[in-house]
Symmetry: D2
Subunit: 500 residues, 4 copies
Amino acid sequence: MNAETKHPREESAKARLDRMPSIRTGDDYVDSLRNRGVTVYLFGETVAEPVDNPMIRPSINALKATYDLAISDPDLATAHSPIIDAPVNRFLHIPTSSEDLVTKNRMQRRMGQITGTCFQRCAGLDTVSVLHSITYDIDQKHGTAYHRRFLDFLAAAQRANIIIGAGMTDPKGDRSKRPHEQADPDMFLHVTRRTERGIYVTGAKAHMTGGLNSHWIAVMPTMNLGEEDSDYAVVGLVPGDAEGISYIYGRQSCDARAFEAGEIDKGNARFGGQETLTVFDDVFIPWEHVLMDGEYEFAQEMVSRFTAYHRASYVCKTGLGDVMVGAAAAIAEMNGAEKASHIKDKLVEMVHLNETIFSSGIASSHEAKPLPSGAWMNDSMLSNVCKHNVTRFPYEISRMAQDIAGGIVVTLPSEADFEHEIAGPILKKYMKGKDDIPVEHRQRMLRLIENMTLGRNAVGYLTESLHGAGSPQAQRIQIARQMDAEGKKKLARDLAGIRD
Amino acid sequence: MNAETKHPREESAKARLDRMPSIRTGDDYVDSLRNRGVTVYLFGETVAEPVDNPMIRPSINALKATYDLAISDPDLATAHSPIIDAPVNRFLHIPTSSEDLVTKNRMQRRMGQITGTCFQRCAGLDTVSVLHSITYDIDQKHGTAYHRRFLDFLAAAQRANIIIGAGMTDPKGDRSKRPHEQADPDMFLHVTRRTERGIYVTGAKAHMTGGLNSHWIAVMPTMNLGEEDSDYAVVGLVPGDAEGISYIYGRQSCDARAFEAGEIDKGNARFGGQETLTVFDDVFIPWEHVLMDGEYEFAQEMVSRFTAYHRASYVCKTGLGDVMVGAAAAIAEMNGAEKASHIKDKLVEMVHLNETIFSSGIASSHEAKPLPSGAWMNDSMLSNVCKHNVTRFPYEISRMAQDIAGGIVVTLPSEADFEHEIAGPILKKYMKGKDDIPVEHRQRMLRLIENMTLGRNAVGYLTESLHGAGSPQAQRIQIARQMDAEGKKKLARDLAGIRD
Amino acid sequence: MNAETKHPREESAKARLDRMPSIRTGDDYVDSLRNRGVTVYLFGETVAEPVDNPMIRPSINALKATYDLAISDPDLATAHSPIIDAPVNRFLHIPTSSEDLVTKNRMQRRMGQITGTCFQRCAGLDTVSVLHSITYDIDQKHGTAYHRRFLDFLAAAQRANIIIGAGMTDPKGDRSKRPHEQADPDMFLHVTRRTERGIYVTGAKAHMTGGLNSHWIAVMPTMNLGEEDSDYAVVGLVPGDAEGISYIYGRQSCDARAFEAGEIDKGNARFGGQETLTVFDDVFIPWEHVLMDGEYEFAQEMVSRFTAYHRASYVCKTGLGDVMVGAAAAIAEMNGAEKASHIKDKLVEMVHLNETIFSSGIASSHEAKPLPSGAWMNDSMLSNVCKHNVTRFPYEISRMAQDIAGGIVVTLPSEADFEHEIAGPILKKYMKGKDDIPVEHRQRMLRLIENMTLGRNAVGYLTESLHGAGSPQAQRIQIARQMDAEGKKKLARDLAGIRD
Amino acid sequence: MNAETKHPREESAKARLDRMPSIRTGDDYVDSLRNRGVTVYLFGETVAEPVDNPMIRPSINALKATYDLAISDPDLATAHSPIIDAPVNRFLHIPTSSEDLVTKNRMQRRMGQITGTCFQRCAGLDTVSVLHSITYDIDQKHGTAYHRRFLDFLAAAQRANIIIGAGMTDPKGDRSKRPHEQADPDMFLHVTRRTERGIYVTGAKAHMTGGLNSHWIAVMPTMNLGEEDSDYAVVGLVPGDAEGISYIYGRQSCDARAFEAGEIDKGNARFGGQETLTVFDDVFIPWEHVLMDGEYEFAQEMVSRFTAYHRASYVCKTGLGDVMVGAAAAIAEMNGAEKASHIKDKLVEMVHLNETIFSSGIASSHEAKPLPSGAWMNDSMLSNVCKHNVTRFPYEISRMAQDIAGGIVVTLPSEADFEHEIAGPILKKYMKGKDDIPVEHRQRMLRLIENMTLGRNAVGYLTESLHGAGSPQAQRIQIARQMDAEGKKKLARDLAGIRD
């Protein structure tokens, strides 16, 4: 089977998606990822079948859970799509009310609770949400057909129930230079040539969470662009297994435990996040899948809308926060320390911080407003405030969880030692806490806390909380832009009795 | 005119209120407070006419602004009351939807922006909101007629457009003892005797903000009560000028500046908060105005509902926070320091903290649920989270405002010195900042910052933010009660692979 | 008596000081301030005798305590001066060892404990400490005689046991302009003319704490200077009552309570800080008292050394912190809440923060190094770290003290109401906490907490902690300068295995 | 060779140590660890030769560096021991002055800078420091010969220049029970029988850092003991390879990277910390090596003195903090972001926090006092304050380092991918930052930051900072004990004018 046969280059998304077996369950989803023939590099080798790779699989499981939740809790995880007039997975639903956004936040928290990691599907949802309005706006100005193309694609995607990944973050090279000024023009993804049938793009998207586990990827600009950057002003829809795409898997703390025997030391054996560097080497995109090409003046607004959505999506971390609180409460009990007033006080503080994050997400959704296309968008100030709290509080929550867990969280011997003929019984003797608690439970709970504060899912709970959807300074810039200093100065002047 | 003539003891609220000239404007309100003959102690003397007292007047002005806002911005500050089927001031409106609560929060923020202080009307609103549902619930259990009495009163109050004050916080005496165990039975307000016509109560309510400026006061229990405390389980409606009530005015930082000539040093000359110790000495309440008498088992729920409403009401402090941000931005500009990156960064941080508070208030209102009576109540967890943030962030915002203002905020000579023949010109010479800024503007802005961080309105912005609606520990207790540790432990056990 | 007779313009400090009755006790000090004929503006009037002014006197009392401590605890508050080979008040002693600086810190903490306010004598001590080394260094370069002049002055000052005030902070005008660029040349104090007998200076020094209560004032530059600013590069010694000097008193929060009857509401009736704008209108300084004149290149180093000393002097605030902790512990006890775990925990946190400040002061002194003149100077990095902690922790300590105190700290009626025939007994009844605690004790403790968190001494404990010896950003600049980023990068490169 | 031959059970430390080849260099040290025949469990297997194990070796290297530093910087890392009247490695020197303790702190910081991890030798030093005074005090009371035995041992240890490990932390079992109440008596190490020749002990010591890499281990109680716990009141000196001792290696985050090819992904390839569970199964200790046996009343004081020393020893983390600052500054530069004001500001904050920790360590040492034996001990309040800051600031510093590093710190592909024929060039293209910086440098610096914030040395920099030498609450208890609330209340009462 050659690549051309595999992905007829000009086949429309609709045609391609209609050919796909429809995905309903999580298992369907996993099956849909098999035999795609994607090129994935991991530890210096290409991965034969990502679905079966022990390090990659937990990240697939996390996405799988988004399908299963839609079945087990359809009120939460599905929505009626006006586009196809049918229920769809909420991760494919364009929000058309403030309540839609609030429910999305609840679903995100619930997914965080279920997986304890980044489930990688928010960026795609936030991308299609933005594309709905931005293609509409571009069409209004330029008379283009982007919005119709977008709706066609989305309708097919909703019917096929696929995963859409977001390709946004370019490597950026020298940060003091604009895209067209870079020594290497590929440091930002750009159009290299245009033909009658479509465009070709080259570049890379870094830190992609869902990419490898997605059926389609939407590439889009990562920052504001000027006229000279117009080849960088490109939005396109690409199958994840398109010719020219390759994935290089990012390392995570403790990632290699995935290859060890036993499940305890993994901490969270079922679920994990991931990031890849996704490389686009002269990838073809037929016109039908091009949603922006050169309209550079919309890049900034697009990014700004994306962050308005996506910074509120970080409310998902409150689901992980719930797990942290639960793990801390559980280990305190296993240690026999749950009645100590300082332990109870720390748990309260953890909850307080976690709910503060939740508040800013919910408030941002509640304060949403409609855009001309009919899509609703989060309040940008509060969305930035939400994300900014996310850059701080999980670290504090994590520290308190380690505090409550005790030093043993980082000195516990390996699962294999617990199984060893001689060392095992010694460990089971000395690692006992309260009488009625099996040592293995304590082991597992400690490993979960390690996993989320230092290990693989600490990447998702901590560092991604810091940098995902923009680093802290990016939020501060947005807050500064929207703070209405003049209006506030006027309030102060009025009260101070200053009449101008 | 003797007291008996003045307040016919059994006259119903309806009759009494119907006799009142209807209040429409802020000026009407001020007029309505004149000649009430209330007993007010201040600096060791009784105050002849509180309305004309320079220290008391700013607190009246703050309440006055609630009337004026209803006229200038009726969408925000009025609501359609189903009780009288007419528009009413929103401070008298029982919330019947989540949106009602959100709009209330917005109105509170706006009032904070307008007055820069505590405008004292929230506790009364939150009290009637609670009474709506709690009287309903008591009636359901005991077959009493409290809810009907309450609705009659509220209808009359809405028509007359009066201020209702909340009398909740008893002095408490020895905090390790319950009400009936106190050496002095009056440390909590209680029924001393019952007659055919009504009840008599004795006790005091501390820290009352609106009391003195209210037309009617609702007294209610301040904590959970047991069977032996049943005489303390009393809710009653009393005119603010009822026989037996007296007010002792609390001191505030810099309060006496109100008596100085000039307005600059007052910082915020027009508006101020207040607190009084309100003393009830054998005050008669006719049965028609009694809304609880002995149903002690409802005390805790009543307090808990009150805090669910009232802790979200502290979102008002974001209005004061807006003023602080504005004042800091303004003084930075006057000092010529507005372009310094650390100044801009501090302003962003102030806004971030302020909007975080706003978020938790809005989220708490958004997550409101209806009670059996039809009134809607804030989500209690998020309301506590809101208030808990209020106990922290205003202090931080205030510190940053002082940082930006410079040391001159506490070393600026008096307004009188600026007027002095010799000292005045010297001060005007040396206190000059940027060329085009009148020195007086700088003076005024510094005094406003002093006012809100150390002076009279620092009481409202800081200490009241700490203790109003319950001290920090009270919120932590509520958060602990509602944190669902068991549910969260289950999440952690599931992820850790612990099967019970 | 005309001014010329009063202060023979060219009389040497030695002659003048030798004529003074020697000051030994605090009472001597107070007497020494009488009849100086200084011009002081306060509330739009000139003050006849500052010593007897109720608002000014508490600030004099604070300085008085530095004399009394030298008598009651000579090990702490005196030192052997090699300059006059005799014991001197430690506030006049040039530190010649690390231990001298540590003992100075201890004395400062003790003074803070005794007075609960700014005792205003540190800036003068830190000024003479700097002058010792900087005059030496200038002489080495320029062959001037400043160091000898300085030693003569200091010897006389030590013998007479006087207060020396520091005149540093110029008003600065437009902060974006250098001294010689200002529209008004007087925005920085400068030499206006030079004669055979001396120089004349004009300008003002803002925020002076000790100034008015000092016998002599040392004026010096407040920032780095360039060649065109050389007239601003002036250090001179001036009697506090010199012709041409006037003082305009700065307002403080609650300052006017000093004029009220009763002592309770003052919070801390005996002690207070102060700040004045000190104006120099063509003030003559004979050459013998000039210690810098035009050597602009030493200005920056002088300021830098001053801050190295003075930022560690802010360890005094730990003495005030001790009072805050004690007041919080005392009020908790009076409220019957001292056993609550959250109260105990807050007290621990207050102590922890307070001792952290103390640590950085002590460490800075311990790490002191000698300068060429033989004077020892604090480690500048740690001194800046000390002050930077002082800009944060007192605010946090203050917030916790208010938390523990309860809302009554800002709603307590006036002392006069407690004395009122009717209101008094009511207040005594309802303001009672634990049975065995007199209500007046509770009143006094609450007023002390108000005084230090919102009132007059909050200026000293909070805002002065923020801005005194340089605002937070000034410390950050110093820390940036001294952080040795290159050395630290090398450490990281070595560990990362980067070989250049 | 049987065990009896290997370690003649009654051979004195002196005899045994005198037989050892003297250790001078780091290489000597590594050699001295070979062929000891210790039982070590790791990943379910016994380790043939720990010295050659890739996971264990970095922890040995860290200790090795303590020998090398003594040669390269003898002023810092050696001291003159009065016990053998010769220079010794400072890690074996009993401090006999405040300066000794300060220099020890400096050495600890330097070691942290050199290794970027826990170098494991402080606990042993702090143990011998305590034993010096506590054996002296026991002898004074009981007429025992512990102090002489101790000095004999230490003299031999100093001559042989060995590593002494501290065995303190018992597993503790059910934390609500005392040692003698535990279901399993071995949950605390205890004497099982006594013979004419010595005692036998059984139990385990958890979280031992230096244990496996030590020549001798001092076991001692971990908490206060009562009379019924007297068999637990045991201090003994045991060779690390004594019969009956086994070690079970604790897992650390990313530990298995030690077994991967390449050095880059290890982050810090040379140095690492470690912890073992050290098991004592009927281990014989001849009387000559017993330093406490049943004097239970000294257990609490012993622990308290140990923490006074050891909590100040955590100043070592400022050395790691220096590395973090350096790494953050370096990566900012490599990213081309070093000029951004928010980056510079974060670096300043990191330094400020780091130096604050340093201050409290230095101050604690400066304030040291002598004990009856002549050993000097850190000020306990400040030592606890030091450690308490260590439980907080490294987490904050670490968060800021990740902030500055960018998200790439957790998404960077593996070293093997950088070496891959196809993926390698792609990575080198897209991972380029500033032009003149080799991609490998960026890779290495990111891995170092990962290592210290999430990876193997995050255990040492973060979690060990939290729990080592006692968890946060342990410090709070000590601070509470030493805060002198009564003295502070008196200060407040005096200022408030309360006369008792």
